[in-house]
Symmetry: none
Subunit: 449 residues, 2 copies
């Protein structure tokens, strides 16, 4: 199989590059460019057809879903991915055009290559290679490729709700995963929930001369005062009632976490930092990341932010925050907690905009599909794939894993720890990309047996 | 005297217009146009000569100073002003060309007319009218007209330091002042100091996926934690040692402040707010503005600040802060306090960039020059000129008032509350302009006596 890929590398790569050139940034497409976005979906559909699947665009309240089906058999596997990408900004930090794939030092650089276009393409190409070598798939394989994952999958809930039968499956392989610092593939069995909000403070109707700084309401300070109620001075979250909502992790989960090798030094080196937040270290840091909620500031802005000095009292300020949530902490409930928390403390003037929300989800590490994911890696020579009961990130996994009750796993690792997902100079190693294709060919064989 | 001006109005106005047509924008002149800037200085010099003074351009590290001298006698008066103006942008908001003076509804619209070309011109014209009617000035009058006030007077310190003898005087009239909403002239006897800094926090070398939000250092949160040590939860400044540096206001100052009419309702209405900061009201608010230091956030930025949501842990964050300081609180010392304050609390990682600083300055309200300023207004029929011991704003006043020890007052009100200083459609009322000329003719008579 690897030999088969060897001879096709250029062709496989060219096809991936074509995908990567399409600027399918979901965050900005609401301001137009719907046509080029749809063009990208249409292109994905055509790739499925070329790989022998029946594929169609299905309308949603937002960007269309690409749905594809192929193969016959008793069992059904669902594959989820997305064709949209994060915004490329800040553009000046990219060493090459984010939408003109550039191969350097054995890696390919482009927005979306590691999240999630590489994974989507690898699976389509795996399907094609499987069929060419082994004939028709002996099970039913369904693909659900959405176009709004990077903006929180706002239409996916409605889509899943309205297409339960269509999506029915015995197991689901979700997006992709990642190889760790040591090159071992990771397998993820769950995702955190997400609540994304923007808090807004208002001051005067226009910026004021800062001679009034002592008496004019300053919305930037108001936000600081608001934020100091969300974390204490040690950086611990102090949001009323948040801890009480959390489910306790299971024994099997805790055991799995204990056997995850956590290379703190490598992580710090890759980030260029000397310390983790709050001096966290070793397995404590890992447990914090996997088992605890976060209250992250993703962005904040107010007033004059150009070079030099301007002496004003700003008229408005906002902060964008994402809360990563664990099982039990529904984003809707946490939003209410937040509103209540602010009201309780006299911050009724702070406007809370709800930008999006995702439920946490989890599949038991002992599920058959997790075993298949592990065994496939082992057969490929990766002796110690690492099973994460859950990860720090979020996705609409719960729609499939919880709502449809389909055991769901993230596997097939195009990305690596240096992939800079969501950041400038996103990349994937070519070797990892080709291995992901080979992985899925083998996974399909294993799933069929 | 007013009759004398009456007949000359057109001529006086034409001369002012000529001055206003010169685009002496100091902020942009560093990028060239040095020649036309110097032409403006040269033109001012020629006006002084025409008014009978000896005048010359004096070189500095930046734009030249126009220095002029006239009259003989025991006493010496120094007049400070500037021939540079703020940038006119945004141009689209001007109703007429910022550099083609336009008279509408009794006001003249042009960049710099209220800050500070109107004041400069009014005093030169006052000098000429005085001489024509009363002969040579019976005291020494010196003019220091700089060309960099609107960019923070970077060369003025060196100039003053190098020309102490030349600038020696018994009193100084500084720039101009302004008439209040009721049409009463204000007289300012002091300015606050200013320390402008940028605090910078660093996280990872690049933005991270916010799945790491629980363990990655977040520079935006780091800034919030930093800022929470600068003000307490009630908004009171808690910078170590700041209060201790402050000089106590004098009894006469407090009395003067008590007699300032403070229209809180009008201020709130003009700002569109229901409350002042910390619920301050009435004379308490006025005292806060005039007698207390500020710790203002002029701007803050980190991470993703465009529309919608992006889930990152930002790699850097900065906040721009201006501290308005009272007498005793030297910006250099306060900068050291701030550094010490942060170090003491474990915030050595916060980079403190010093952007600029100005000393506070104050002249006693009982000084003869203040009395002269008040009495002159009264003789002109303004029964209740309002004496501010100090204002909330800052300027390079201390170079003259403190370094040279010259009692300094801001008087002669070309501007009014609708003058839009530093903003589009800057204007002055023609009546106020002519009255400022008459004011200085009378002021010269009074100073001589």
């Amino acid at each position: 199989m690897d030999r088969q890929i060897e001879g096709l590398k250029n062709k496989l790569l060219d096809e991936l590059k074509e995908f990567l050139r399409m600027p399918s940034v979901s965050a900005r497409s609401t301001q137009g460019d719907e046509a080029s976005f749809r063009e990208c979906a249409e292109w994905v559909r055509s790739r499925f057809e070329e790989a022998g699947a029946e594929a169609r665009l299905m309308e949603t309240d937002g960007h269309p879903v690409v749905f594809a089906e192929v193969g016959e058999g008793e069992r059904t596997l669902l594959s989820y991915g997305h064709y949209d990408v994060q915004p490329p900004e800040p553009l000046e930090l990219w060493e090459s055009d984010p939408f003109e794939p550039d191969v350097r030092d054995g890696s390919i650089f482009a927005r979306g290559v590691a999240d999630d276009k590489g994974d989507v393409m690898a699976r389509i190409q795996a399907l094609k290679l499987y069929s060419e070598e082994s004939g028709p798939l002996p099970f039913r394989l369904k693909f659900l490729i959405e176009g709004e994952e990077e903006v929180g999958s706002p239409s996916l809930r409605g889509f899943v709700q309205g297409n339960k039968e269509l999506l029915r499956a015995d197991a689901c392989v979700w997006e992709g995963s990642i190889k760790d610092e040591a090159g071992q593939p990771m397998i993820f069995c769950g995702t955190k929930g997400l609540l994304y909000v923007e808090l807004r403070a208002k001051g005067a109707s226009h910026d004021l001369h800062s001679m009034y700084g002592g008496i004019a309401p300053n919305p930037a300070w108001r936000l600081v005062q608001t934020l100091r109620t969300v974390k204490d001075e040690n950086g611990e979250i102090t949001l009323d009632g948040l801890d009480e909502l959390a489910d306790e992790p299971s024994e099997e989960e805790l055991e799995a976490i204990d056997s995850i090798p956590f290379d703190e030094a490598a992580l710090k080196a890759s980030w260029g930092v000397d310390e983790l937040d709050r001096g966290l270290a070793g397995q404590d840091a890992l447990k914090e990341m996997l088992l605890k909620p976060t209250a992250n500031i993703a962005g904040i802005q107010s007033g004059y932010t150009e070079a030099g000095s301007k002496t004003i009292v700003p008229s408005e300020a906002f902060v964008k925050m994402d809360f990563r949530l664990v099982m039990g902490q529904s984003p809707g409930e946490v939003l209410e907690l937040l509103r209540g928390h602010l009201k309780e403390r006299g911050f009724e003037d702070i406007e809370v905009l709800h930008l999006n929300g995702l439920e946490a989800a989890k599949t038991p590490v002992s599920s058959p599909v997790v075993r298949t994911a592990v065994e496939t890696w082992k057969e490929m020579g990766h002796e110690e794939p690492v099973v994460y009961p859950t990860i720090g990130g979020s996705g609409p996994t719960s729609l499939v894993a919880t709502r449809l009750g389909i055991p769901t796993v993230m596997t097939g690792a195009v990305a690596n720890p240096e992939s800079r997902i969501h950041a400038p100079n996103e990349s994937a190693r070519l070797d990892d990309y080709f291995e992901a294709i080979a992985y899925f060919v083998r996974f399909f064989h294993k799933f069929a047996s």
